[in-house]
Every structure is written in C-alpha cells, then in structure tokens.
Symmetry: C2
Subunit: 189 residues, 2 copies
DNA sequence: ACAGGAATGGACCGATCGGTCTAGTCTGCT
DNA sequence: AGCAGACTAGACCGATCGGTCCATTCCTGT
C-alpha cells in the first residue's frame, strides 16, 4: 500500500466530508466528489469497493471523531460544562461564518436525510452523537451531578447545540449560537 | 378552476410535504411525488409551472404555517411558555413515533440541505422559523419578560426543540424530546 | 347542446446518477 | 532488469433525474 494511494483515499474522504456537510447525502453526487478531490472514478471504487455508502459512512465517522476529540480535549481542562459548550459553539460558529454558512454540524444534514431510510448511515450518526453526549455527561458527573441528571442535562445541551447550529445556518447569522451558549450557562450551572 | 383540479394540486403538495420531511429536497424525486399523489406528470407542471422548486417551496410554507397555527393556538390559552414547548414536543413526538421516526420537523431536513445553496427555499424556511420564534417570544413578553430577554429565550427554546427533534429521529427514541421539555421548564421559568 | 378553457395522461428529451469494467501506469521487491 | 500487485484513467452501462410537449378528456358557462 503506497503512500500515494493513501493520499488519494484521504482526499476522497475529505472532499466527501466537505460536500455532505453542506449538501447532504442525496445532494452530493460522486462526480462532484471526484471533481473536488481530483481522483478518477476507478480510484474511488478501488479504495471504496462498496461505493458511495462506504465513502459517506467513513466521512461521517471521521467527522464525528474529530468533534469528539475536540470535545474530549476541552473537557480534560479546567473548564465548566457551560464553558465547553460555549467553546464548541464558538468553534462551529467560526467555521460556519467563514464558509458562508455552508458548514455547521458535519453530521446533521445526512442524519436527517437517512434517519428513517438508511440504517447503516443512521447508526454511524447515532454513535457519534452518543460520544459527544457522553463526553459532556462525564464532565457533569465530575462536577458533582448524579448520573441521571448529567445524562439528561447533556442531552439537552446537545439538543441546544444542534438546534442552534441549524437555526444559524438557516438564518445566516451567529446569533442563535450565542443565545444557545447563554442558555447552556443557565442549564448547566 | 374546477374542484377536481384543486384537489389534484392539494394532493401534490401533500405528497411533497410527506416526502421532503422524511428524505429532504434532493432525496425526493418527482417520480416519487407523482406516484404518491397519483397525479400524472402533466398535472404537476400545469399546477406548478416552475416545477420542483415551486412545489417544495409551497410544501414548506404550508408545513411552516401549520406549525405556526398550532403554536398560536396554544399560546392563546393560559399555558406558560414551558407548557407550550412541552405540548409542541408531545405533538411532534407522537407524529414521529407513529411514522417510524420518518417525521420530525417538517422543515429541518430541507433547511439544512439548502442553507447555503438555494436562496429561495432557504428564505421560506427562515421565515417559518421566525414565525415560530415570534409566537414564543410574544408569549414570554406577555408573561412579563422584557423584549430582548424574551427574544433570546425564545431563540434558545426553538433551538432546543429543533435539536431534540433531530436527535430523536437519529436515535429512534422520544427521550431527547422529554429531556428538551424539562430543560425548557428551567430555561423559561 | 356545444364551445372553450381547465386539466389530464403519458411519451419523450438530454443530463446526470451510481456503478462496472478493462487497459494502462506506477512502484517496490527480488 | 523484470515481475507482480497497487493504483489510475476513463469509457461505458442502465436507471433515474427534472423538464417539455401535445393529444385527449373533462368540466363549466352560455
């Protein structure tokens, strides 16, 4: 397995990540992925024999892991849960604004498209969201909350994050992100 | 304009509403809409000369209005804002569960798909969300909040609703809706 | 009854979809 | 040097996409 092949593979996944975040699963064609990544069609099916589904599943998993890593990193410091949520929303907001509101939650668009009709992709999203929520819940438990309360609060906080990312993209404004961060302070105090 | 034509037109919009809520804009083909509604291709372009975009825009606007009406109706009673949010989430949750988690927010999937790439549809979604938020904000003002605080709280509550609907669909569980409703009690108290 | 617009039914179009296939090229090992 | 497997390049496939077109049928007002 040469380094060149690895790079092509990585470029395909990266292009897929960018495109499905902005346009979703159905809105993103393989021709678009090929054009964006510069890879020929043959390479795609060499690296990903199962085609689009495999490529998208991997892109979603990678994106989910990246956020989880960021979250774990923030949770490892001395920050409160509310401060972590604020930090997360700031990071997402910056990305979003700079992309012309094409980027938000890297999973959400696909997650909604496939929630009822494509079990494998749905499960990838479910697992990623689960990891994010778990990270927040752990932090809350360390802060003294009981397990049940922490899970519920983390679930609500994640809903706040996801909802505000959606509204921010639709409204082309970071205002919902700020409102959500303030609400999180109240919620996670 | 005969009654028969009106009915065909309505069935086309209704079928579109159902399909785009579950699969989004790109995931829904006109052939699917035609099959679901039983209308022939010619009728679609007779009633909607601008094709898919016009049909989807109308479907989104109708769905947005329906929720706004429900919201207005609930806000007109003696309920608190938190109770209204709870009622809204209960109604959405029932629909969602009964549809096998195919239905959630009727706008969200399309809203994310088109947030950066299809201005007319984006604006329809933005306006609908704005109406929902306004209804909640008015109720909060009537409850004694100042304008700015009410707007911010309504924005956060709407984010909570949208985020929990997304998570519920992805997880195939109503739990996130319940967590969001409880969080709304804390937030809107 | 009948004229004329409203509405239907469906064949047809070029473009694009995801996917297959194979000839050719690159690369590292012996 | 030369062989084998990794990888690329792109032509090609049937299916489906959104959209156009027109002959036919239905309905309504006179």
């Amino acid at each position: 397995m040469g380094a060149k092949g690895e790079e092509t593979r990585a470029r395909l996944v990266q292009a897929t990540r960018v495109l499905i975040e902005a346009q979703g699963y159905f809105g993103t064609g393989l021709n678009q992925v090929l054009a964006e990544s510069g890879a020929p069609r043959g390479s795609l099916y060499f690296h990903f024999p199962d085609g689009k589904d495999q490529l998208v599943a991997l892109a979603l998993a990678e994106a989910g892991r990246d956020v989880a890593d960021l979250l774990d990193h923030m949770c490892a410091g001395e920050l409160s849960a509310a401060e972590v949520v604020r930090g997360l929303l700031d990071a997402f907001g910056e990305r979003m604004e700079q992309s012309g509101y094409a980027k938000g939650c890297p999973l959400a668009t696909v997650a909604l498209e496939v929630a009822a009709g494509h079990e494998p992709l749905r499960r990838v999203c479910e697992q990623a969201y689960g990891e994010w929520q778990r990270a927040l819940a752990e932090l809350l438990v360390r802060g003294g909350r009981d397990r049940a309360g922490a899970d519920a609060a983390a679930g609500a906080a994640l809903a706040l994050v996801e909802g505000s990312l959606l509204l921010a993209r639709v409204q082309h404004s970071r205002l919902p992100l700020d409102q959500a961060a303030r609400a999180a302070e109240l919620l996670l105090a």
